[in-house]
């Protein structure tokens, strides 16, 4: 009797998994511990492990298909054994991803005068889809720092060719690493004034697993959690001075602390002082958490993810910084394991690096609150009765009123401000 391997639950919020690729093929001998396939969950791409010894007899779900939890993926058994295709389980989201709209302009155009290749600042294709790109275009993209995932190809079958990369470089779009938020045009890309042609290729893109999860969870949050919002302005001068001192003094040791590292540390410290915020709503009970597991939002080309710095209350700012760097890199590489992005008790979202002065984020359930961190702003402030040039930082708290009341939220922001304005406290 062959063993049927089903789609496992690889993350706590997963309902379907996308079968990215099979690492074994039918007829291959497999043993327990072998990796059979790569599966993209709502947050990460993970390997599917085999727990049986035998031969991979039959693959039921081809690469690229979305498979519901518990649906059959493949069968492992003795060579020659016949395998019945299991009865399909009802799975609303299990249909194969819709093919992308056929790229327009597939009629032969030639290299020297391409019909104004369209450059999308959003990812140009569903996540996980293979990018078709010529070797030359790939090399050029790497040289120019262009992210091919954000470029629409004008070649046959949507292949990205040299002209597309050159157009993207000229237009200043599709920079690798640039968050999608840059499309608002914080920096004005010169040379496009009077540019003719469409903004981008008119197209429909299938909702990726990650976007689906973002949509579902944030809609649920915004429609079921009674959010309230508080703001506080922090004098950032002492923090910036301390950070500069530390970074200068520890440069040789390779330490470079970001403002966000301090905000994460300060948040953990403020949660220690006002632990009521470190809680979550569970319908008939409120759970108060013993440890501050502080998550932070990382922008990805096709969405975002919130890896967790566990036990941040017990970690130094240096340890937090190290964790955050490593998690941030894994997030960008899509290598986070579910254990690394679930279980947070408080969340920090920072758009300061994009020049946003303040914003009110949506709560990341089941957390009771989320902190929105703006940029440090140089502006006139009153100090000792004098108007002087100051550096300020605006922090906003979105809180779940079922768990946290206004006064508690205010205490939390007050504690946060106190810590950030006396940043040496974070070092002892």
């Amino acid at each position: 009797m062959a063993n049927i391997i089903e789609m496992p639950k690889l993350s706590d919020t997963m309902t379907v998994g996308t079968l990215v690729k099979w690492l074994k093929k039918e007829g291959d001998v497999v043993k327990s511990g072998d990796m059979l396939a790569e599966v993209e969950t709502d947050k990460a791409t993970m390997e599917l492990e085999c727990f049986f010894d035998g031969t991979l007899l039959k693959i039921f779900s081809p690469a690229g298909s979305q498979v519901a939890l518990g649906a059959a993926l493949c069968a492992v058994g003795k060579p020659g054994e016949t395998v019945e295709a299991p009865a399909p389980k009802a799975a609303p989201a299990a249909e194969a991803p819709k093919p992308e709209a056929a790229p327009a302009a597939s009629a032969p155009t030639h290299a020297p005068a391409p019909a104004a290749p369209v450059v999308a600042s959003e990812p140009a294709r569903a996540s996980g889809e293979r990018i078709k790109i010529s070797p030359l275009a790939k090399k050029l993209a790497a040289e120019k720092g262009i992210d091919p995932a954000r470029v629409t190809g004008s070649g046959p079958g949507g292949r990205i060719v040299r002209a597309d990369i050159e157009a993207a470089a000229k237009a200043g779009t599709a920079k690798a690493g640039a968050a999608p938020a840059a499309k608002g045009g914080a920096t004005f890309a010169g040379g496009t004034v009077g540019a003719k042609g469409p903004l981008q290729q008119e197209r429909s893109v299938a909702v990726s697993t990650m976007r689906g999860v973002i949509a579902k969870r944030l809609l649920e949050s915004k429609t079921t959690i009674p959010h309230f919002y508080l703001e506080i302005e922090v004098d950032a001068e002492p923090l910036l001075a301390l950070r500069e001192q530390l970074n200068k003094g520890l440069e040789a040791a390779g330490v470079k602390l970001s403002v966000n590292d301090f905000v994460l540390k300060a948040s953990a410290e403020a949660l220690r002082r006002v632990p009521d915020v470190n809680a979550s709503w569970h319908g008939t009970e409120i759970r108060y958490h013993a440890a501050a597991h502080v998550s932070f939002a990382v922008a990805l080309p096709d969405g975002l993810i919130t890896p967790v710095v566990f036990n941040a209350h017990d970690k130094s700012v240096f340890e937090i910084s190290k964790d955050a760097k490593s998690l941030g890199k894994k997030a960008k590489d899509k290598k986070l394991t579910p254990a690394e992005f679930t279980g947070g008790t408080f969340c920090v979202s920072n758009l300061g690096m994009m020049g946003i002065p303040k914003f009110l984020p949506i709560i990341n359930p089941p957390n009771a609150a989320i902190l929105g961190v703006g940029t440090t702003v140089t502006k006139p402030v009153v100090k000792n009765g004098q108007i002087v040039v100051g550096q300020t930082l605006t922090l906003a708290l979105s809180a779940d009123h079922r768990v946290v009341d206004g006064a508690v939220g205010a205490q939390f922001l007050g504690a946060l401000k106190a810590v950030l304005e006396s940043p040496a406290l974070m070092l002892v």
């Binding site: 032969p108 290299a111 020297p112 010529s134 030359l136 790939k138």
Partner: protein, 325 residues
């Protein structure tokens, strides 16, 4: 510069080399009294006499074998095949003996033979008379293969071939015999293994040789005028040794490649080129390497259909547009 036909240019090369070196001889079916089936050797019997311009029986295996033996003893025979299609009768003599003798003698015996004649389709002579064996020949280490496209190249390359100490296969073209071109008045030796950029361009490299060079140049003009595509035409001239450096330099300039060959496509010269280009210039390619070859079937006897079977300017044009898409 004098304007000569391709035929006259070959004749001039033969005449000059026969004059320069008394060991050079010309042998083949009807090369002497009939002046060659395609009149390439017109006047040579009268000029050099029957000891050096020799008619042979209709027996390729016999006379090519004799030529290989003679070359091993110091003669520099130029053997004319009425059609290259019949090289296969002498397959053993050419590709087993001539190709290997220097290697197997430890370099003690050279084989300075030139085998020449037309190898082309397009003249309604049927499937058995229309072979283009440059790929088969080039598949044998020890053999050199030359396929000239113009009168100037034909003359300069044939003179180098005759002076070369290895067996050189020289593939002409009956349709090109009447094509005129400028040929330098002074002696010119074109080295074997040197490609020639026949036309400069920036958007597409057409790598080609033989008569397909002319089709490619016609197509390149149309592409420039009507499609704003600037084509570079690289004429290989010699299939082996192959001047891959010139090809790669052009690919690095244009990033798009079309190979045009009057060859059946399976395991052709173009197949080898495509491999070498992708291997050496993968990161320079902005699209897949395209190839236009003879349609994969025995030479078609119907003249209008045969024209479409072979590369022609319209087919090159279409293939070029696909290659720059």
């Amino acid at each position: 510069m004098a304007v000569l036909t391709y035929r006259e240019a070959i004749r001039a090369a033969l005449s000059e080399e026969l004059t320069r070196d008394e060991n050079v001889v010309l042998l083949g079916e009807e090369v002497a009294q009939f002046h060659g089936a395609y009149k390439v050797s017109d006047g040579l019997l009268e000029k050099f006499g029957p000891k050096r311009i020799v008619d042979t029986p209709i027996s390729e295996a016999g006379f090519i074998g004799m030529g290989v033996g003679a070359s091993m003893l110091g003669i520099r025979p130029v053997m004319e095949l009425m059609f290259w299609s019949f090289y296969s009768v002498a397959f053993d003599q050419i590709l087993n003996n001539a190709a290997n003798v220097r290697y197997m003698s430890g370099g003690l015996i050279n084989c300075p033979i030139v085998i020449r004649g037309p190898a082309n389709g397009g003249t309604n002579v049927g499937a058995t008379h229309s072979h283009t064996p440059e790929n088969v020949l080039a598949n044998h280490p020890g053999i050199k293969v030359v396929v000239p496209a113009t009168a100037r190249d034909a003359k300069g390359l044939l003179k180098s071939a005759i002076r070369d100490n290895d067996p050189v296969m020289f593939l002409e073209n009956t349709i090109l015999y009447g094509e005129k071109g400028e040929v330098p008045d002074t002696e010119e030796l074109i080295p074997l293994g040197l490609a020639d950029v026949k036309r400069e361009g920036t958007d597409l490299t057409i790598v080609t040789y033989g008569r397909s060079v002319l089709h490619s140049l016609v197509a390149a003009d149309i592409l420039e005028k009507e499609h704003d595509v600037s084509v570079e035409v690289v004429d290989l001239r010699t299939i082996r040794p192959l001047d891959i450096d010139t090809v790669l330099a052009s690919v690095k300039k244009t990033h798009r490649v079309l190979i045009v060959e009057e060859q059946k496509p399976f395991a052709s010269v173009g197949s080898q080129l495509a491999f070498m280009i992708q291997k050496e210039a993968f990161d320079e390619l902005d699209g897949p390497i395209h190839r236009l070859a003879t349609i994969d079937a025995p030479a078609i006897y119907s003249p209008p259909v045969e024209v479409e079977q072979l590369p022609n300017p319209q087919r090159v044009l279409k293939a070029a547009l696909a290659a720059v898409a």
